[in-house]
Amino acid sequence: MIPVRCFSCGKVISAYFDEYQKRTADGEDPKKVLDDLGITKYCCRRMFITHVEVW
């Protein structure tokens, strides 16, 4: 499961993860989705990009 908050700054990123996953699965560009969701800092963006949902 995705961590509740960003490791570096503490922003609650998990609240946006479902939408991110759904939209990227539909073929949208991750960059565009993150901009849309208001995830602007690079520490928070790597939380989404590098996450692998294993179970």
Binding site: V4, K11, V12, S14, A15, D18, K41
Partner: protein
Amino acid sequence: MEITIKNKDDNMMVFVVEGVDIPFINAIRRICTVEVPTLAIEDVDIYKNDAKIFDEALAHRLGLIPIKTDLDSMVLASECDCEDHCPRCSVSLLLKEKGPKIVYSKDLKSQDPNLKPVHDTIPIMKLREGEEVELEAKAQLGIGLEHAKWQPTTSCAYRYYPQITVDTEKCEACAKCVEECPRGILEFDEKENRVIVSDLENCSMCRTCVKGCESNAITVEGQEGKFIFKIETDGSLPPEEVLARACDILSKKTDQIIEFCG
């Protein structure tokens, strides 16, 4: 002291302060992050947990969920006169779910409808077919000095207000600095044949333009006593309230020193 708000939304604010010194602005920053109280889950009674996630990992995830806070109606647990928990110092949140499903923060049922998780869509745990979870979580006020889950702010920082000066006598109008700037802050005015600063507040003071200038005509420095302050909260409190509370706490501290001296 002069304050101008540059950018603001529900849980973020950027403003420029002028006429203050570093010790003062840094005191405000530190109090904002670490001494303004906020609500977070502290005790969790787990009655049943069949899921793959361990109890302590589950409790840890619960602790990180920000909860809307009303500082006027609550007191810190250490200052409350009750023995264990009471509505004045804590809020109970109940969770009872049965799989298969993903449990979200909206499934936490709060005793007090005003003090509930800020976000509805934080995934807490996954339940498979037939698995059940039942728990009671108690949220308390606390401060960031004790645990980071009680920090009301996420990023809270200030930086010098930049000042870029181009010496027109030395400048050879080669426009190399315009190319060098990674943020596109400088522009070259073809008509007047000189470099102009178009977006000063976005300057990160990296000084790449200074290194690129062969005639040493450009200087970048921070203005003394002028800062750009950014405060972002986790949603439990609005940024204005965090700042106002921080100022109250600072003035209370100074009052204590005055009292001690007098």
